[in-house]
Every structure is written in C-alpha cells, then in structure tokens.
Amino acid sequence: MNTKDENDQGLLWEVFVQAKPGIPHKHAGSVHAHDAEMALASARDVYTRRREGTSIWVIPSHMITATTEADSESFFDPADDKAYRHPTFYTVPEGVKYL
C-alpha cells in the first residue's frame, strides 16, 4: 500500500479496542505498520498487554474523515437548545447496562 502518509515506519493506523463483549470499540491510540496484519499485531502488543481488550479494530488514519474546527458552529451549536432530543422520557429496564 502506498499513500502520501507512508514513511519508513509504515502507514499510520488508528486503533480501536473493545474492553468487554457488547460495548463499543473505543479509540486507544495509533500505531505504524506496513500492512493490516502487522497493524493488528502491533495494536495487540502496544494497547492490550495488560488485558485491556477482547477485540481490536485498526483503520488507516487517512481513511478517517473528520470534522474541522471551522465546522463546529454549523455542525454542533444547533443541538444546544434541543433538549427534547435527549431520550429521557422513558424508563430504562432494570439490568440494561450499556445503553
């Protein structure tokens, strides 16, 4: 794989680790690797060596499209005064942990 992000350390990959079955994968950090298999192995070695994970995702950083600071006003501010969008009007059944 050759992209403009690649250097002699390889491509940059973002690492997402799931701590327990059933909960979302959370961004843990990044690793350099020359291919996906190597990125997974490095992510395992760097981010789960103290039993932090049950599953890992890796994705080339350049594949992620992110919002920018300039987008903030139009993207996020309109939600500020719309409290009715919060799902607070029903009761959560007992025993549901990760809603």
Binding site: V31, H32, A41, S42, V46
Partner: protein, 253 residues
C-alpha cells in the same frame, strides 16, 4: 537414569532455552527500529522469561536439593547450561533476530503441542498455558519472515544472510539423549523425530514463500549443547546476566 534425573535434565533444557532466548530478546529493549517492534520483541522476551521461571522452579523441586529458579539461572556456569545453540546466537540486525525467532518458534510450537498431552502433570499444564503465547510468537515471526523475505531487496538480502548464518544451528534442536528415552517410555515427552518432521513440513515451504533459499552447509550442522558445549556467545550472555547476583547474592528488588 532415574525418572527424576531425566525429568530434571529435560526441564533444565526447556528452561535454559526460554531463559537465554528471553535474555537475548531483552537486549532489544529501547533499540528496535520502531516503538511497535520494540514492544513486540520485549513482550516475547517477557513470555520466555515467564516460562523459564516456571520450568526452572519445577526443575529445582524435582532435583530436591533446595535450589530455586534464581540459583539455577544465576549460579550455574556455561557448561551446565543446556539451551540449544540457536537461541544464544547474536541478535545481529532485526532480520537475524526474526529469523532466529521463527526457526525456534516453529520448533517450540510443535514441541508444546505434543507436551500438552504429556502424562506428567506439570509438563501438561505448562505446555497448555505456554502454547497460547507461543502460537502468537509463531504468527508474529512467520509474518515478519514473509514481509522481510519478500519485501525490498535490502530486507531480502539481510534475511537471506541471517538464514545462512543460523541454519547450521537448527539440527541439534531435535537431538535426543538418554533423558528423552527414559521420559518417552513413560509418555511424558514426544519423540523429537516427530517434532522434526513437523518442523520440516513447515519451515522449508515458508522460507520458499518468503523467497529465501536454504543454504548448502555441505553436510555440516553444529551440535554440542546437549553436552554443555556452547558457541562463543553464551559466556558473554551469562557474564551480563549473572554479574549482579554473583557479586551481590543477597540483592533484592
């Protein structure tokens, strides 16, 4: 030879392999070409040191002379070590470390697979636990073999050179002694000929896939570790590893 004596020798052999390879890999700490590889190699080192601790502790128990894991690791001299010549070889460059690791990982993987069916309770439990670690080591090193061998011209040449250096040290992995015979009778350990067949069924084809050729050693293969004869490297490894406990035997963390 009594069963205890054979078992002691066998445990020392396995324990020394893990200890010396762990020590060698530990030398990479802070020196690898990137943080990811640095942590990967030292993780493998720690797995090996952990295995060595279990094995040497059990060896001391079987021997029954009150020797601890530390006594066995730090207060034996070169000729009392029974690790294979392969694991004491120089780290060299990254390719040489990976090649050494790969050749040993495949051996260790198949040996532990068989030992997990051992009639000896300790060996069975030890093998089952360690097999998970070693399966990962084998995946890591075999992936790197492909990547380096079938990578750039530079990485290919370096890996080829590494295999040329290390290949003569692979045959004695499978050499058996009186201890093997005694323990084989009791279904405690496998015939190393079987492990050799599995190793031979795996390694040459993976080397070919990695575009690496097996060197023609003209029939020469190194041996000696079963009798305590080592290459020049082991003395230096032990000097570094044992200096502190030997000069301050009561030192504690």
């Amino acid at each position: 030879m009594s069963t205890e004596e054979a078992l002691f020798q066998y445990l020392i052999r396995l324990g020394d392999n893990a200890l010396i390879l762990g020590q060698r890999l530990g030398e990479w700490c802070g020196h690898a070409h990137q943080l990811e590889s640095d942590i990967a190699l030292t993780n493998v080192a720690l797995d090996q040191i952990g295995q060595a601790r279990n094995l040497l502790t059990e060896a001391g128990r079987i021997e029954g002379k009150g020797r601890t894991e530390d006594d066995l690791a730090f207060f034996r001299s070169e000729m009392e070590f029974r690790n294979n010549l392969l694991v004491e070889q120089d780290n060299g460059d990254f390719a040489q470390t990976i090649a050494r690791q790969y050749l040993f990982d495949v051996f260790q993987f198949h040996l532990l697979t068989e030992l997990s069916r051992s009639s000896n309770e300790f060996l069975e439990a030890f093998a089952k636990k360690s097999l998970k670690e070693v399966s990962y080591h084998r995946k890591l090193s075999s992936d790197w073999m492909l990547r380096l061998g079938d990578g750039t011209e530079e990485s290919h040449n370096r890996l080829q050179q590494a295999i040329d250096i290390l290949w003569p040290y692979t045959a004695e992995l499978f050499e058996m002694t009186e201890a093997d015979k005694v323990l084989m009778e009791l279904d405690m350990v496998p015939d190393l000929k079987l492990i050799e067949q599995k190793w031979q069924a795996e390694v040459p084809s993976h080397l070919e896939e990695s575009r690496i050729r097996i060197p023609d050693t003209k029939g020469y293969m190194a041996r000696g570790s079963r009798d305590g004869h080592h290459t020049e490297y082991l003395g230096y490894i032990l000097a570094e590893m044992q200096a502190l406990p030997r000069s301050m035997p009561e030192a504690k963390w």
